[in-house]
Amino acid sequence: MSNEFYRLRVNGVDHDVRDAWAGESLLYVLRERLGLPGTKGACEQGECGSCTVIMDGEAVCSCLVMAATAVEADIVTVEGLAVDGEPTDVQQSFVDAGGVQCGFCTPGLIVAVHHLLDRNPSPSDLEIKEAISGNICRCTGYGRIFEAVRQARDARAANKG
């Protein structure tokens, strides 16, 4: 048992996971074994998006992924977005636009919005709504979150222009 381990690549760093129960979700292993509690769990059914991480370029609900099956994947969590500890444009726009209240849905939303803007740098308002419709927020009613995404989108467009 003690020699059994698997290796996860998270935010560019390899982590050995030892003595783990094979049934553990990626969410559990990130939070409880790898010291990365930024990813949140709120429904365990892939309905709320709080646990969204990027796996090989795709946004997934880490509560639905068995950690031991993610050994070949490149995983990015909310902790892996910032460069040198500076907030990303999306993170800053969520703060500035009032997109954060209790903040529990926020890490998953931040990851989902990065995923959206990386694929589609100029989403329409409706495309924004659709892209984050898998992330439940109970506090904000989404209005300031839409505004935050629009701000990040427009700032990226302005920087390119």
Binding site: G38, Q45, C48, V100, G103, F104, E130, G141, Y142, G143
Partner: protein, 771 residues
């Protein structure tokens, strides 16, 4: 009345701050919350993120039956599992066996009877959540299953024996006022039903308990709404001195009333004391549905009597709120429902009879709106019926009867609060209507969304109205004071309070107050804990008023000492001094000293308790000054409906809210938009479905919440008429947004379909097959 007015168009987020001279970060500006950056970076520690060396995981065994006698509990199988450290039941509770916010009627663990499906029976501590889960499965509980009492009327009519020593009626309250025989020229009536809503905060119940070395104390990091009330209840159950139960607020992922009652607090602390190790407990989503109270489902009969021109003369009402198995705050929820049942309208005569009853359904208690949500759905549905019967518009019937400052409630209490009901209605009506649905809409814009289920040609649009009154703070003589401490040294203010930050943004408001009062830029916040006196609960729209008043008071005491010091140094009368920007200035002379310089090497430290004015209990006729203050709001909803499929899309909600004074426009808008989404949930999708007392949908797969695609466009106006009673002129703004939006949406669906829709949430079958 002199008023100012800031309009926020929620679609664009453009704001018009009236105080252009206001310093950044001070009161009146959209100061950014200090926890924003940690939250977006995943660095903010929620209670579920707490962790300790050598900790064990706690888990709870719950009853599968709504009502049963416990014959036998055998925990030996669980204790035999490798990795299980402890199993506790009612026999292990060292102190009081029950707890509760108003009546102590809820067992820490069921001993003789279980009274709802999901009631805790035992708890375990183990080395891994999976070990804990297996241990729960290994506990044998033998039940004698009993027929559950699930019909609220049967709880009243004495056809069933009491299911609890305290009886089946938790509280009855009548309101008898004025002419009891009056019959109006126009009479309309109806019976309305409100379903059971869940708070569905995202951050699940979680806590970490650390036992003291001597075994006679415990430290708890927990997500809660009221640290000191938890402390009191935990200490009593554990037979510990309250000072030996120290609570620190773990990061709270939303609350909405659902964290006002104890959930895992006593279990977690007890396991820590028994095992002498740190215990982490965290509910899953299903357990969360069982582990906290919900919004009371209600049945409300109303009869309105009016003159032919629509002038309201008398209301009659009978209200039945299903409190479920334990009392929680049911008696206070009932008082809110009965005392608000006439709505924000002047009415001289009332005949009201309200019950909060005990059943074997899941316990109900506080949720945003607290009894007024239920009453409002009934009275606003009635106002529309009255308008139709009198041949006037929904807007005109409400304007005709709108309450004003100085009017009396049906309790006889004079509404001393600023009561701009008419303005709320007129300014809502003046907000722009949405664009018509395009001829070729995107599938995401139509009812049913991307499933392409509704056809454009089938869609009908409807408009509906709702207006509400909501009390602020606690009622019936309760002194829900708040405490805050302020230290000022070297130009830096440090604030301490026990106010639960649950997401509403009190942390930024507190900083804004200190900046404005003291002229400092840097305001540090101590951890939120029981190391200082109570702040009362983060509920009842009360913390801006109460804890805001306490922070303001503490900062003003510090400012007095600062002025006294500066005055003495300069031979001035301290009354001449004021704060201007970040300076202390002599208002009658040339002196100007930066606060940072004036406080160099000095330290001022003051604590202040803010109490609201006294209230009183209602008499047997429901008369008395039981509430502190009131806030008002109007909502107009526009919906698109496919009547054949019963699908609804809420297009837009317009609102004008009476806020007293806007202290942080961005945070206020967030409360308004968030409340509207929750009210939308109760209107068209959110309901805990029960069958024979058992929840059928305790998951986010089956209990539907509004998503980004369900959220309507919100156009909002905030009406600023500063409230003289309020320390900062500001009324609480948390609850009003979610109250009258529900009847407004349902009224809009009625307008689009012609259906009666006496029940909320409106289900597809109600639209397709309903009367």
């Amino acid at each position: 009345m002199a008023t100012s007015h800031s309009t926020i168009t929620a679609n664009t987020g453009t704001t018009t701050d009236r105080a252009t001279r206001t310093r950044h970060g001070a009161l009146g500006t959209s100061a950014l919350r200090p926890d924003g950056l940690p939250k977006v970076q995943g660095r903010f520690a929620f209670s579920s993120d707490a962790w300790a060396d050598n900790m064990l995981w706690g888990a709870t065994l719950r009853s599968p039956h709504p009502y049963a006698r416990i014959v036998r509990i055998d925990t030996s199988g669980a204790l035999a599992i490798n990795g299980v450290s402890a199993v506790v039941t009612a026999d292990d509770v060292p102190g009081k066996l029950t707890y509760g916010l108003i009546a102590s009627d809820q067992p820490v663990f069921a001993r003789d009877f279980v009274r709802y499906a999901g009631e805790p029976v035992a708890a375990v501590a183990a080395d891994h959540p999976e070990t804990a889960r297996r241990a729960l499965q290994a506990i044998v509980v033998e039940y004698e299953v009993l027929a559950p009492l699930v019909d609220a009327e049967a709880a009243i009519d004495s056809t069933r024996a009491a299911i609890h020593p305290d009886g089946n009626v938790i509280r009855r309250q009548r309101i008898v006022r004025g002419d009891q025989q009056l019959v109006g020229e126009v009479v309309v009536e109806g019976t309305y039903e409100i379903g059971m809503q869940d708070q569905a905060f995202l951050g699940l119940e979680a806590a970490l308990a650390l036992p003291d070395d001597d075994g006679h104390g415990v430290e708890l990091f927990v997500a809660t709404q009221w640290l000191h009330e938890d402390q009191k209840q935990i200490a009593a159950c554990l037979n510990l001195e309250p000072s030996r139960v120290r609570l620190t607020l773990g990061g709270v992922g939303g609350a909405f009333g659902g964290r006002e009652d104890i959930s895992l607090q006593v279990h977690c602390c007890l396991l820590a004391l028994v095992t002498k190790r740190p215990i982490k407990m965290q509910y899953g989503r299903e357990e969360s549905f069982f582990g906290h109270i919900h919004r009371h489902p209600a049945t409300i009969f109303m009869r309105h009597h009016a003159d032919r021109d629509g002038t309201l003369r008398r209301v009659e009402s009978r209200l039945v709120l299903d409190g479920g198995a334990y009392a929680s705050t049911s008696s206070a929820v009932l008082i809110n429902a009965v005392t608000h049942v006439q709505g924000p309208y002047q009415c001289e005569n009332a005949t009201v009879d309200g019950y909060a009853v005990r059943t074997n359904n899941p316990p109900c208690g506080a949720m945003r709106g607290f009894g007024v949500v239920q009453a409002c759905f009934a009275h606003e549905s009635q106002m529309d019926k009255l308008a139709a019967a009198c041949g006037i518009s929904p807007v005109d019937i409400r304007l005709k009867n709108a309450m004003r400052t100085g009017d009396k409630l049906i309790t006889g209490q004079v509404v001393e609060s600023v009561a701009p009901v008419e303005r709320c209605i007129r300014e809502t009506a003046a907000l722009p209507m949405p664009e018509p649905l395009p001829e070729a809409p995107d599938p995401l814009q139509i009812p049913g969304g991307s499933g392409l289920t509704a056809r454009r040609s089938n869609i009908r649009r409807g408009v509906g109205w709702g207006v509400s009154i909501k009390n602020l703070m606690y009622s019936e003589g309760f002194d829900d004071y708040a405490t805050a401490r302020c230290r000022l040294a070297n130009g830096v203010a440090t604030l301490q309070f026990a106010t639960a930050e649950v997401g509403q943004g009190f942390v930024v408001l507190a900083q804004q107050i200190a900046r404005s009062v003291l002229g400092v830029d840097t305001v540090l916040l101590e951890p939120i804990s029981t190391d200082i006196g109570s702040a009362g609960s983060t509920s009842a729209s009360r913390q801006t008023w109460m804890s805001g008043g306490a922070v303001d008071g503490a900062c003003r005491l510090v400012r007095e000492r600062l002025f006294a010091t500066v005055a003495e140094q300069n031979g001035l009368d301290p009354l001449r001094l004021a704060i201007d920007g970040t300076d202390v200035v002599d208002t009658m002379g040339a002196l100007r000293v930066p606060v940072a310089d004036a406080t160099r090497g000095l330290s001022f430290d003051e604590t202040f308790e803010h109490h609201h004015r006294k209230t009183e209990e209602l008499d047997e006729n429901g008369q008395g000054n039981c509430h502190v203050a009131f806030a008002f709001v109007a909502h107009r909803a526009v919906v698109d409906v496919d009547p054949d499929l019963g699908l609804v899309k809420v297009v837009q909600v317009a609102t004008a809210q009476d806020v007293g004074r806007v202290l942080n426009p961005l945070a206020a808008l967030g409360q308004i938009e968030g409340g509207i989404a929750q009210g939308l949930g109760l209107a068209v999708m959110e309901e805990i479905v029960l069958r024979d007392g058992k929840m059928r949908n305790p998951s986010f797969t089956d209990y539907l919440l509004p998503t980004a695609l369900d959220a309507p466009d919100v156009v909002a106006t905030m009406i600023e008429e500063p409230e003289p009673q309020a320390p900062l002129g500001a009324k609480g703004i948390g609850e009003p947004p979610c109250i009258s939006v529900t009847p407004a949406i349902v009224a809009a669906i009625r307008a689009a379909t012609g259906r009666e829709l006496p029940r909320t949430p409106v289900r597809p079958q109600d639209i397709v097959f309903g009367p």
